[in-house]
Symmetry: C2
Subunit: 285 residues, 2 copies
């Protein structure tokens, strides 16, 4: 049986009995912020790699799948996504994908921990390459409060790119937060939130559907994609829409998009919403 | 940083700089056969778990995805899959899914290592529950030779459920083997083969497409699905068809199927063929 020596970072998935490891060349950063402990490693095969409170967050090699799937499905479903907010998302990879859309007039990122962004600027500069875009605003503060204070019907898309629903991110998975988002959204507006592993966290997905529906959205749908460094290697995002069904992929715009994607395309967009039978059954309950 | 103690099985993905671990309660079996070293563990969260030559093979909890995706997409695409052969597949999970199809008149499994099947009977009895079906034949021998000796145009579907393309399975990834399969297939017949991780093994996928095309098939397509215990948690299967395009999903039959699936359904069938842009580009080269 193989044994991992000290040249490996390992995340044990508590409650799941599984673990994922990346081989590291060196530790670049370890710091405790007021919110969490952040580490950055240089890996042998995945480029730079950020860990928060012991949980894998982002690697240079495969973050493209997550960032593309947290942004393009909602932005190409909304007819005119003008005002977009990202809650969390401190590595700025989600913000970058949002800013690739020329329909977006303003993109605000509200990350609670400024150090995540400062370290991303240093160790993941490619994710931060559009931070200076004049349409972008970086705010370091409490996303829950920001949404509560937002003018009613002032937003088109809210992207909740948070850590797991424990610790600082817990309030981002609550009905009251979803209600505040709904108030801040224009009709037809959408929220999308990372919703954990379909295999390991079915109860979280189910609770999110229940909370989003009870917060008054007209439609709630989950999409799925691979995500190698997260528990089970299989991840999901859940979308809720105010006043309309989640439909209307702007297929011609996807075909003519003036930027490159490595994972996302119109076929993948449709395919991501196809759910396995066990997940359909769990979410129908 | 977490350290895994001796209560874990770890597979290091050589060349990828990653590793996957399951927490084990005890080792049930360790034996060296003429072909390979087989271990069976009882895990804390994934039920029984088989390992061959240090590589994860099958766990009770999540094998359903793999076995359903290696079988139902081809069997519901072929208009009348009467004669089916499984090469490898010694745990019998693929054979079980094949036998669920009432159109199948005979299903032959040719596994080189009888011990895999005998241990599966003991530790994964649910996978072997249809082994006594009168349509099933279990052969322990060389699948490459079996295909070479098969009567021309005697088969409808060949499912190659093998280990990685190193060691005993290497010949199953060669052009000459694909040509022998093509000879044994009736017109419209299909082969499907597990084709590794789209993220980590792109070169294998590309080589398979090249070899299958040069072996004279009319169409080659890859489908993808999550597979938690395999490297990257993301896996693929590649299909080649003789004399026809890979199309014609029997959707009404899927809707009316007299057996349960946990992962597969008609939406998933279509979705699995949607490929990420980077994979489309790699396979188009």
């Amino acid at each position: 049986m193989s044994r991992l020596d000290t040249h490996w970072f390992t995340e044990i998935h508590e409650g799941a009995g599984s673990a994922f490891s990346l081989r590291i060349r060196k530790k670049l950063v370890e710091e405790q912020t007021p919110y969490q402990r952040i580490e950055v490693f240089e890996t042998t095969d995945f480029g730079n790699f950020m860990v928060i409170d012991g949980c894998t967050m982002v690697s240079a090699r495969e973050n493209f799948i997550y960032h593309e799937m947290m942004t393009h499905p909602v932005l190409y479903t909304h007819a005119a996504p003008k005002n977009v907010i990202v809650i969390g998302g401190g590595d700025c990879g989600t913000l970058r994908e949002v800013l690739r859309h020329s329909e977006v007039a303003s993109a605000v990122q509200v990350e609670i921990d400024e150090r995540v962004t400062r370290l991303a600027e240093q160790y993941f500069p490619e994710l931060c390459e559009l931070n200076e875009d004049p349409r972008a605003t970086l705010i370091f503060g409490d996303g829950i409060q920001w949404i509560k204070d937002a003018a009613p019907q002032s937003l088109d898309v809210v992207i909740i790119d948070s850590t797991d629903p424990i610790g600082p991110a817990e309030g981002l998975f609550s009905r009251s937060f979803y209600e505040d988002c709904r108030c801040a959204l224009r009709p037809g507006g959408m929220i999308v939130q990372q919703s954990e592993s379909p295999l390991l966290h079915l109860h979280i997905l189910r609770d999110m559907h229940t909370s989003m529906r009870s917060a008054g959205y007209n439609d709630v749908k989950t999409l799925q994609f691979p995500q190698m460094i997260y528990p089970s290697g299989w991840w999901s995002a859940t979308i809720a829409r105010k006043g309309e069904e989640i439909a209307g992929l702007r297929e011609a715009d996807v075909a003519a998009k003036p930027f490159e994607t490595k994972y996302y395309n119109a076929d993948i967009h449709r395919a991501a919403f196809a759910l396995p039978t066990f997940l359909q059954q769990a979410l129908a309950q």
